[in-house]
């Protein structure tokens, strides 16, 4: 059974009295430890799909099971609790809390778990180290560059050791060097820490680091393009995850 399993997922929005469907009758399986890139033009439904998988949004029709959990059936608060354990979310614009330091931002997900202050501090330190940003732990987001902010955002996504990391255009706002560093970090999360990654991107080069690329257009999956090494249904072998350090994800 796949870690993420979507069947007949349709999402319909009503706007100005008119309905439009960013997702139409989608089926999708993503295995554990798989790294999937989701590509497509603006408005093709990539982010909507990501949000439905992570329980932030609900489908109009269809079923979504993640790790055996029927995600759409969860209430808003239950979905929040489930998300805090199962999903690490990386945003295009980082969405860090500006008044908190990097350390405190990374600590936020752990506040939702029963854990001593010392244990929290240890895990935050490990996450910051894994993201290569521990030297900026006491800085607030306004004192960080975009690349640094995204590293903090990644540290925040992995600190609670979720099985799944979803990243919505994580390099969209970054320069080439920073983007390259962030992609390297995501690759490490997948290869060394065995995380299942689902990444939305516009950048074909960024998508190359994924094992599989799914292309969306007008709410439906496109068949693999001729000559493409990946696409919906083709799945390269999954690498073995490296052991995690001190019980924490990083």
């Amino acid at each position: 059974m796949a870690l993420i399993e979507l069947r007949g997922v349709t999402k319909v929005y009503s706007k100005g009295g008119r309905d439009f469907a960013p997702l139409k009758d989608l089926d999708l399986d993503i295995e554990k430890n798989e790294f999937v890139a989701l590509m497509g033009p603006s408005g093709s439904g990539k982010t909507t799909l990501l949000n439905i998988i992570s329980g932030i949004d609900k489908p109009t029709r269809g079923s979504v099971r993640v790790g055996g959990v029927d995600v759409p059936s969860l209430s808003r608060s239950k979905a929040a609790q489930w998300r805090s354990r199962a999903i690490g979310y990386i945003f295009q614009r980082y969405n860090l809390v500006p008044v908190l330091t990097a350390f405190e931002n990374v600590e936020l997900p752990l506040l939702l778990h029963k854990m001593s202050g010392a244990a929290r501090a240890k895990r935050v330190t490990l996450a910051l180290q894994a993201a290569g940003i521990s030297h900026r732990a006491n800085h607030t987001p306004t004192e960080l560059s975009g690349g640094e902010e995204q590293r903090v955002s990644i540290a925040r996504a992995i600190v609670a050791d979720p099985q799944i990391i979803v990243a919505d255009e994580p390099t969209g706002d970054l320069d080439r060097d920073s983007a390259s560093a962030v992609l390297g970090l995501l690759t490490r999360l997948h290869r060394e820490f065995g995380k299942t990654l689902l990444m939305v991107t516009h950048d074909a080069k960024a998508a190359e680091i994924a094992q599989r690329t799914i292309r969306l257009q007008k709410g439906t999956f496109l068949t693999p393009e001729p000559g493409a090494s990946s696409g919906n249904g083709t799945r390269p072998p999954t690498p073995s995850p490296a052991p995690t350090a001190a019980g924490a994800a990083p």
Partner: protein
Amino acid sequence: MLLPWDYGVRNLQRRPLRTALTIASTTLAILLVLAVAAFVRGLSRTLGETGIEENVIVYLNGAERDLVRSQIPNRTPALLEASLQGIRRREGTSYVSPEINLSTVVKLASDLVQGEKALTRLGLLRGIMPAAFLVHREVAIVEGRAPGPGEVLVGRFVATKIGAEGLRVGDGVDFEGRHWNVSGIFAAPGTVYESEIWLNVEDLQRATRLEDVSCVVMTMESKEKIPDVQAFTRTRLDLELAAMSEREYYSELGKQYAPIRMLAWVMALLVWGGGLAGAANSMYASVAGRTAELGALQSIGFVRSALVLSLIQESSIVAAAATLGASAIALGFLNGFALNFTQGAFALRVDGTALLIGILTGVFLGILGALPPALRALKKPIAIAIAER
């Protein structure tokens, strides 16, 4: 699980000027509510606490409980003393005080210089005999001495009542065509007496050419004896007297001010509403730019109730600072401030009840000011919120 306390505090530090202005406007709203509470408490206390439980006032039946309009013969006090059992006596002295209550124009030395341009000052006079200090035992001379011939003893708030800047021992006042010297100052905390001018009843009778007194105030051995006095006045119809417990008299007087108290509370409510709108407006502005941040916190796993509580916490910090500031100002500047009213003068009273009202105002401003903007911000779907710039 709640967000860290620091989150709220640091959010307030994001825009220090706006936070300072919000604290200032909230302080003002709470201060105004405290001022109204102090006004009502002061007025209620003055009229509600004037009088001694065992005291009874005997006055002219038909004066409609207005002592200024009451006139009873000079011989009445002696008659009452001889006819009634249960009047308190000590060392051969009966606690029977014939008194004249008079409202008249009082002039200060400066008024005489200004002539017709001078302010009209209406003073409350009480003609007394030494027994007055026995029956009104809450009265204590705090400076000078009891009045002799041509002298007056003034209450602490007389200056406020007549609109003067102050009256000291040795100062002169003019009324009823005569000049009087201030022989002393008395205090009677929380009573209407403090805004009265006391002088010898015979002096006042001579000055006003009155032959009667307004009332007789007597202290009975216990309050249970008061009905006996009332029974006596009802039996001796020829004397045309009525009797009423002193406490009841001033309490009834206080009821006349119920509309003013009600108006004051309505004003306080309006001020409170204004403060609430201001607090909500500040929080709207504060959370408007944080939609994406709040969306991100929800996507991490914080439930909406935790975020609402965090925003209330933030708003409550402002309200707490404002409450402290307003309470300090009220205690420092409003408490004891004397105000004039028709029955005399009274001091604003920032007591425990008034402070509690101020604190509750702050608490409600903190909670209710944050709720609408918090709920509005968090009503937005997370998927839309996190995409906002």
